[in-house]
Symmetry: C2
Subunit: 606 residues, 2 copies
Amino acid sequence: MNYSNAFIPTLREVPSDAVIASHRLMFRAGLLRKLANGLFTYLPMGLRAYRKVEQIVREEMNATGALEIKPSVVVPAELWKESGRWDSMGESMLRVKNRLDNDFVVSPTAEEAFTATVRDELSSYRQLPLTLYQINTKFRDEIRPRYGVMRGREFTMKDAYSWHANDASLDETYQAMGQAYRRIFKRCGLSVIPVKADSGAMGGSGSEEFMVESDVGDNTLILCKKCDYAANVEKAACALDSNFRPSVEIAKGAAANTPPYEKIDTPNIKTIEELCAFLKTEPKSFIKTLIYRAENVEIDLSSAPGCEKFDRKNPTAFFAVAIRGDLDVNEVKLASILKASEVTLASDADVERLTGAPVGFAGPVGLTTLPLIIDSTVAGMDDAITGALAKDLHYKHVAWGRDFEAWMIEDIRTVKAGDICPVCGGELYTKMGNELGHIFKLGYKYTKSMNVTYLDENGKSQIPTMGCYGIGVDRTLASVIEEHHDEAGIIWPVSIAPYHVIIVPIKYDGEVKTAADKLADELSKNGIEVLLDDRNERPGVKFNDADLLGIPFRVVIGDKGLAASPAQVEIKRRSEKESRNVDLDKAAAELTEKIREELGKGLERG
Amino acid sequence: MNYSNAFIPTLREVPSDAVIASHRLMFRAGLLRKLANGLFTYLPMGLRAYRKVEQIVREEMNATGALEIKPSVVVPAELWKESGRWDSMGESMLRVKNRLDNDFVVSPTAEEAFTATVRDELSSYRQLPLTLYQINTKFRDEIRPRYGVMRGREFTMKDAYSWHANDASLDETYQAMGQAYRRIFKRCGLSVIPVKADSGAMGGSGSEEFMVESDVGDNTLILCKKCDYAANVEKAACALDSNFRPSVEIAKGAAANTPPYEKIDTPNIKTIEELCAFLKTEPKSFIKTLIYRAENVEIDLSSAPGCEKFDRKNPTAFFAVAIRGDLDVNEVKLASILKASEVTLASDADVERLTGAPVGFAGPVGLTTLPLIIDSTVAGMDDAITGALAKDLHYKHVAWGRDFEAWMIEDIRTVKAGDICPVCGGELYTKMGNELGHIFKLGYKYTKSMNVTYLDENGKSQIPTMGCYGIGVDRTLASVIEEHHDEAGIIWPVSIAPYHVIIVPIKYDGEVKTAADKLADELSKNGIEVLLDDRNERPGVKFNDADLLGIPFRVVIGDKGLAASPAQVEIKRRSEKESRNVDLDKAAAELTEKIREELGKGLERG
């Protein structure tokens, strides 16, 4: 392809909202333009790179045995009503009414469309397991789209869905997908951090996110300095404190020397900070007790205090949650423990009604109106300060096991930098990350609500279990640029590069033109993708553009080199500083070999 | 690929609305399923064929030098407001409001998105000509979607757009696209009829449609029995009648023996049929005069009677249109001649106001209030019956040139079967057809309204002219099936087939299995796509499915053949009745050669 025919509108200035490298470089190098906020056009150079990501994803999906299908992008609302997500998806889902006043959805994801398609065709266990995928347009109506295609409104997702007769089969596909994802990102030249993740609104549990580090990432990752432990902060765990008492009996023993708890007057003091100043102590000496309201709780509450009225029709319950005063409750973990669709802090009125005291004076001692859930840190506290369930009153010398017991002891703290790794005991630290891929075990959420069944070996009707597996194609592409660029521009990995080689004739004329054309031709015949800079520009301009575009190999051809004996050209890798002179007649073979070697990386199958 | 892993849910029964072969067979052979009316899911076998059509289109577009880009499917309404089509597109365009109450369009076509993208990058004549295309999702909210993907709501279109400094350059690209389209359809194994077409709501003129014959087609085609003349009835011409008089002088001479025109009383007679009965004559003896109302007329009306008040602010005009009594006015031709956005029959009130008589008595003699446009057939009539501009009154012995003159003489008749070919004088006949592709010269419609400019050689700002070129991918795929099937199923051309070869072991076991696996392996290594029927089904079931799926080559492997010396397999082309025995060890080579030969057809470039 000649440069002058390739429509590569490079820019010196980029839009002021382009604050991250990939966004800036996709605009500067002529890969992308904006149609509206969060809506973009891939220009030819951008689309070439995009298609390569897409193809790598497709090849790795096919290698797992997954089959590609293509549902429509616009789907009938009926399917979303069946699954219940028409109501639960919120405003980020783009809903459309057509001329006949029928409701449609511009797909943000496709559990429903895939499940509906499979439902009608699935009859026998012999058809399972089955994995289907698409690489197709999605739309999420982000309130604040930004960072270019990293968080656009319309994007392309590879989404795969699998159906299984049992958990073992689901786990097998889930593991295969995890391996495929690692291969995909490796082939794209990306360093990903696979982390345990909460599966959020998708439902189900058992999931892994594939993250890339990013200063503007949406996710806080908890990582270990010593081992490869990595988790989304929403799910991250840490080691138990050394003073954790696994039972009430042990705790009672540990509290043997603690004086009996006693009241302290704390007039007009509500916050832990005020208490610390008043009592001249530290937050970690306190047990903080918070009242939570939880919706659609699915765990058994028949033995829970205050939950006598809880049932399917009235699925709201309140909980007291106690945690060491210097720590925060992780509401995602809490919701997950309760199997609740949502947890929020109770209103002031509810707190007062349930604890008999205004906000700020809740405490575990004498609390009988609510189920008490304590964080494991509280199960190590034998001389703590707590609220006393009355205005302007606290207790001191409170000990777990001796002065109160818990309905549940769980890990509900938000892990933070400096905490101890639950796997190896190393120190944890945090990074910001962006999610590129996500694999989940969905379970029966969709197959149950949408009535999917098959007949098992005994002719009995069964409901299959399900997994789902997504990768953002655009985000993956942008992340490649985030990881591979410098001041001058993009540094494409060979696997994703829009072209493998850029030939830069010093002046596209005479013998130099002949040599450049011939080399381009030889390379093309070998299947190498060549961009030939045929423009009538100064060499400096061409070199700068070659650096900006990030083509992996640059070949400079000039009169001087051609006059040497044998004729020479200069080859430079975009990723390296130094160039080398190579015999003109060996250049095609050498480049072909190197590029094939790079393309072969990650293709070995074990 | 093993059949049992390929998810091919074949059906015996098809939905009752599947009335055409492609719709029936796409469902029966497990290529397609329905999500909602006009919305479908391509299953793995369907998608494989679909991708091949897509790839043929892509290769042929790239061969013309067109560059692929990818705008979003959902685009901001602002662009459509700029071009004016937000108002003119009507209800078939799917409009969406997002959570911020902004308007968007789910693209039915992409003149606006492409023009907006190019507008910001185009600066110099050196960048022209430029052709960009996409192969992407489109949505048209058909009131009555039917015939499967032949007329769905969501579909995939290849749409290309080109920009040019002058008409010669536009024509060059237009011609190249026409050639590319011929190659695309040939490679898909399709017989297309290229026809002159009206460019409809797209604007501009100079266009060609690529039609396939279809009993349920949307278009009436006019074809010549002798030559290759082909036109959409909306634009079709026919030869002038032998008695056509090219001038008033000649007409006057021809009318020398016609008696002077005279009144005839025709009480309570309005229709031509009633008049024929009353006067005992035939419709072709009459001049039928119709009053039309035209909107946004762009031709010069300064000399037109009754159009004194016509201007840009008041762009409605009325016309009298006279045609031989047995013929119909072609309103598309009429609109095209007037360069009007719309022509409709005038209301009864307008007719009465303008002609001084109720509907049924308009005529050309003495008509001074309206511009009179006569069809060329009227310019051959020297003894006709016409309305007399008064209730219950007609004239007879009316002669053009002698008794009235015309403001315009044009070809405005609707051509019909039996008319004479304008090219060779042969007889014309009609067929119903479906449009697969369409190429237009758009002109300045979008570049003017959307303010696209570039600087010419002299540094002067110019507006580029534009072309656009579409192909329906789904419709092309369905048309391949329409043209290539029989009672038993699909007969895929090798170029589009989901797999090239189906291997049918009589029983997938023992030596037969070994031979089948080995042959599949050899073929796959040669790049041949193989489906291996590993199912535990009776041979008859497998043969029927192979015929239904339409894989071009079937190889049957059984114990008997393997026991022969040398071992034999049976090869049958789906398109042929007879099978042949082939040595097992020569089968891979023979199949590979034949398939490569087929795939090479249409790839030669002149």
